[in-house]
Symmetry: D2
Subunit: 432 residues, 4 copies
């Protein structure tokens, strides 16, 4: 992933250095399990660890790979260079994928754990903003058209609830990716014992693949990328919401605008929702990586390696992006300037059209069939919409309506607080 | 979905008739909850039910919709035609999406329940085939190249384990889609009580959306389609496996070939794996529907209706396809003709090259550094590969190797049963 | 495709009846070319045509297929039933894919020709609306924020130009799909002559595949679906534009609202941009079908049939949708109610902030470095944005600016018509 | 894109240094066009060029951006640092997107030109291999099952023809992306003249966007990524073909295997088609980037910036990958070891089953109805398939067949060269 969208402290998970260290940790954990069983001489793992762990030279490994064209063999050759004789006990009965897939399991688990931390920070931010604005009325809109009033807090709460579901999905993916495999060339434990796998993987926080081929099944990795795509879409949902609120004509909220920030090279008056737009785009990339991951599942026989090139790009890029997006989205939510006065102005600009349903229901309660009542209310609304009188005045002047509803009835139908009386109930449900 | 890929008994879930009946059931469940609370006259729901349930005329609803251009209003108008006066108590305080989304929740839950039944049938079939063939040796292949021996049963078990994970994902999606919403125009319960929602939804097997906008959040629907795409990929994995086994040169298994079946209009000798190829393609369609569903999540404000046209096509089409694929895949697995003799012939055709790792490990145990041993074994293997002697003979004739390994050592390395000694352990893990 | 999104007159292209008739036409055209060369007895094609063309029974073909599990063989068997002895001369030296792929070429060409007609109708509608509104000022917006003025006509012209590019892509796809193949089982003309192919395909409007395998290459079909996805995105662009214009706070245009139409079951005041929202969603489906088509390109050896199930669904569904969208989008554009007064009100609501660039440039021309001028103008704009004075007043009151620009200079910078002086040039370019 | 899949000489197109230089070139070309018209003092462009071109400090620009959060403003500020007073004449009447989008047009055009060179190299390689092997018989396979004979050259020719179509698509995309825009904040030329745009863009090899918004329309960029996805799929088609040929049981071709190369860390006997598998995966990534690009087309009003983050990743990554794939695929094709003897062995292994169509046609010519003849031939073939006799013997022993076809007739039907007599015709068509 490009630097612009990477946080170095996260991207480090996927550096060459980290990867090779993880490979070595996996090899050593197997080696130790073998030492216990007398398959490998006591002290081998410690000896290799002392000379190699933290001392691997990624550039040297690359150099070797340019000849043998096989990354794990290059790695092992380099460890032999560093550790000498004891290194020959590494990789015993193992195949490259034992190292690679177990390491990917470790790295993905680490990445998802950090991402879950980021999700929790964003959830906390959303909850805080929801509570701050739970009683701030704002027009609810469907189809981009005024519908009925809600509060700003409900919007934050909705985003919270959706993100919380994405969190569940990431947890599920994390559970299912926390597997490895030390089962040999085709998963049969031809030259290694299942107990060694269980113990070695346990040491690095994994459990064995249920039935391995040469590799861990790729539905697990696809699930990781899909869970991130869901999270991306939840962030996109917030971003699109902010962009709508910040539109000039709406103006109900706006992104924090830094001191010295410039909105446009041409137009000095501009304050643009660029964080949100940026996040909207990044969500598309997360979807793209997820899409490619599905094609990695159906491999040939006991594996083909077509998934590998996809994953070398998509797993680091998608997790790095996801981390970046969480941090940026938290900044967006924390810094968002909510404008209650403008929210109220917009709410009032249609002269109460948003209360048309309440009037309709009053008429139904007064004995009218629903569709008949609908026609009466619609004509008063459409006249107001066309600039002929206000909705409230039109209702009062409509003989069919006036004969059924008193001015008090209409007042009750136009009562904002009545519409918002269940907000606390919803908030309680969201944050329970 | 086209008839060719639909099972009528499943597709019925999405018929106009079923949809309208479900809408009516949702309306009636709300009505009943209101009756209990005295909001609606006692007996209203029963009265409407008697005249309308099972008697809705889908064509008439279409006709009305052609004027009012709103499907739920058309439906309600038709119910008024059938039920007369009591019908005006329906839909009180509700918005169209209350009916639509709750009904979609009911229909999706029904569809996924049936799909899970289909998954269970397929799982049972896979388990049966796995047990039948657990001791049937077959060459394991990576990169399409012979690797080391496995058994056919392990392949079925691997498919089983992957499908079982897909089952978990479908269960998760089913849990999260089993929600509805009777919360009014923008989810605030402006004209209805949350307790009515809870009770009414409970009657149709749902729970309330945590924080609704005008609609239920679309991440839930996207998860359904994604869970099916995973299942599709798992089926694709089996299908690709069968196609490889059935290749003329491999010939280790073949699809059952019906009496009277013809493989090709031009070539009377052909027996093609058409079920598997068909399933491979259908998996692509499931992925496509899943991809589109992600774009439905970030809606404008309290909802825009852009998701609706996507869902009218994708939710029925994807679930109908998923059901069809399960039935077809079960037929494929049940009918698959496994050919143990051919499997053994292929296993033996490389003259034991597949035991090269065992030889390598013997050399390492005999004291050689891994990479040095590798070079020795590789030269014997490559010579055999190029037609110069058999692998076993070459090993015996290689001075470096012969000085370290006896004929008995080589025999042990070439022992097939030794390679397969952990099969039972793996099978037990898969089916536990 | 579901009825709701199908026009019967278009969907007919893909009916069973049409498909079988096209197959027969292809078979007969080959038969005629063979008659000319004395391979088949004179009169054979006419004899078969007389008894079979227009008389095929799709249900009977289905019935036969249920035994032989091969659609083309079922078709041929049925033609033998109808035509008797002469039918044995059909399909000579051909394989099923010769019939199927050539027919698909014919059907796709027909479908795309109709779609191009629909594109032309929509282009004409856009051009008309562009000319009507070419001098109607409206605020141009970037990031959803007021930028500088444009005219409504420019927007229609932009949509026109984009759709015209999509038309080029569809033309390209149509050219490349207008191929067929009468080259036998693996494309070698083993039992048929290339000249027969050339002549037979010419009769149905196609040219031969350059190098066929058993089938026509699938990049051609994928290009068709991708070209439609582009068209879908162009329509989506218009739809999203209309939805923004129709937002309550913007209100600069709205979809025509039919007599008797109802916007919401709950809220009688609603007028929603439902055509546009519908089109927005349908564009997602077109993208989905296009995505699946890429996976059909890399087939095994001389073909596997995995593409077939995808295409049975995606080619009809995507073309039917594309046709439907064009008709619906034309209705949208034709019926769109443009509101010049509201456009002007919105344009004026920021008190001329949209002229900030013109002021900036005046300062640069007056000798200030750009970034210094930027800071001066930005402070006046941000104050106005925050409600402190109007932008124009702030500029006049800013000592740094007042010392450089006269009131006349500012008037010139605030001149709307000056901003729009090149509109005719752009329009001329669009419609040339 | 990660280093492993980047060629530095290509990736350089997208380096910060190249990007900023391109920006400056665009600014200078506008400046020169203004100088000619007396809008900007003569010599300004030269003055800025002398102090800045080739001297931009990307790190310094980043530093400035961290305050103003706007990349183009940061760039301009830096140019002012380097060039002093004359720099204030840059960017006159322009908006950031004028610079950015025109530069993207330049960079994409450069990238596609290089990619087309790479395509041509690959085409030449395919043609050479096709000619070398045009008379090398190999079994043609459909559904993975033996069909009828072809030649290896036909396969290369087919890949050539498909890639040539992809070339046409890239050419089309290149033509349509070679546009820029110097039209100001919302494309109206509010503060700049269309003639300046025409001249300035011409200097950098572009033409003006037909109707610009703030930006160049994004269908153009999406077309670039889609054209690359097609190319990726064509390469995938070759890669999958090679992987099938190299399968152990098939063994008809194999990737060149480097001296010192190791196929597996566990199994010294392995020679795996890793180049092909790698390319198969990379094609998935190209599809993913293309998919995301469609969502960038429908922007809000005169543009939102959501496309930007997608493009910052996807355009460089996809073009870099495409370049890398071309080089790697050329290496694959050049180095492919074709094995004519093995091809012939496989062709002969079914005992002539592949000639079943020719026998069928002889029977039809001898007067039998097609479906009757089919049944006779099929029974002989299925018996052979089941190990009962050879196909040829079975035919001779079948009374129904023997009464109609002589041994000479059967010999003729089993004639390999007869099947391949049109190869030259096809080759000529492919390379004309």
């Amino acid at each position: 992933m490009i630097d612009r969208y990477s946080r170095p402290e996260f991207a480090e998970i996927w550096s060459d250095a980290s990867r090779f260290e993880t490979w070595l940790r996996v090899e050593l954990s197997v080696c130790r399990a073998m030492e216990k069983r007398g398959i490998v001489p006591k002290g081998t793992a410690d000896a290799v660890s002392e000379t190699s762990l933290g001392k691997l030279d990624a550039a040297r490994i690359s150099e070797i790979e340019s000849t043998c064209r096989h990354d794990v063999i290059a790695f092992l050759t380099h460890v032999e260079e560093l550790a000498g004789e004891p290194a020959r006990w590494l990789h015993l009965g193992m195949t490259s994928s034992d190292v690679l897939d177990s390491s990917t399991g470790v790295q993905c688990t680490t990445a998802l754990a950090k991402i879950l931390e980021g999700v929790d920070v964003l959830l906390a931010s959303l909850k805080k903003r929801a509570e701050e604005t739970k009683a701030t009325p704002v027009m609810g809109r469907s189809h981009g058209i005024h519908a009925e009033p809600i509060t700003a807090g409900l919007v934050f709460a909705r985003w919270y609830a959706q993100l919380a579901r994405c969190r569940e999905r990431i947890e599920g993916a994390k559970k299912r990716i926390a597997v490895g495999k030390i089962a040999g060339a085709v998963g049969t434990y031809a030259n290694i014992d299942p107990e060694i796998e269980l113990e070695a993987l346990g040491e690095v926080g994994l459990v064995p693949e249920t039935v391995a081929s040469q590799v861990v099944s790729r539905d697990r990795h696809a699930e990781v990328l899909n869970a991130l795509a869901f999270m991306g879409a939840a962030i996109e949902d917030m971003a699109v919401g902010v962009r709508h609120w910040q539109r000039t004509e709406v103006g109900e909220a706006e992104e924090g605008f830094g001191k010295g920030q410039k909105g446009s090279s041409a137009m000095p008056h501009k304050k643009n929702p660029i964080l949100s737009e940026n996040l909207t785009g990044l969500a598309r990339l997360l979807r793209a990586y997820a899409g490619a991951s599905f094609e990695n599942i159906a491999l040939w026989h006991e594996r083909d390696i077509s998934h590998s090139s996809v994953e070398r790009v998509s797993i680091p890029d998608a997790t790095i992006l996801a981390d970046f997006m969480l941090v940026r989205c938290t900044r967006l939510i924390d810094g968002l300037v909510v404008k209650p006065e403008r929210m109220m102005q917009n709410l009032e600009r249609t002269g109460g059209l948003c209360f048309s349903e309440a009037v309709l229901l009053s008429l139904v309660r007064a004995g009218l069939p629903r569709q008949e009542a609908y026609v009466m209310v619609q004509r008063c609304a459409m006249a107001a919409h066309a600039g002929e009188g206000t909705f409230r005045d039109n209702l009062g002047a409509d003989a069919d309506i006036a004969s059924r509803l008193t001015a008090e009835d209409l007042d009750a139908a136009f009562d904002l607080q009545h519409h918002l009386r269940h907000v606390d109930t919803i908030m309680a449900r969201a944050f329970s």
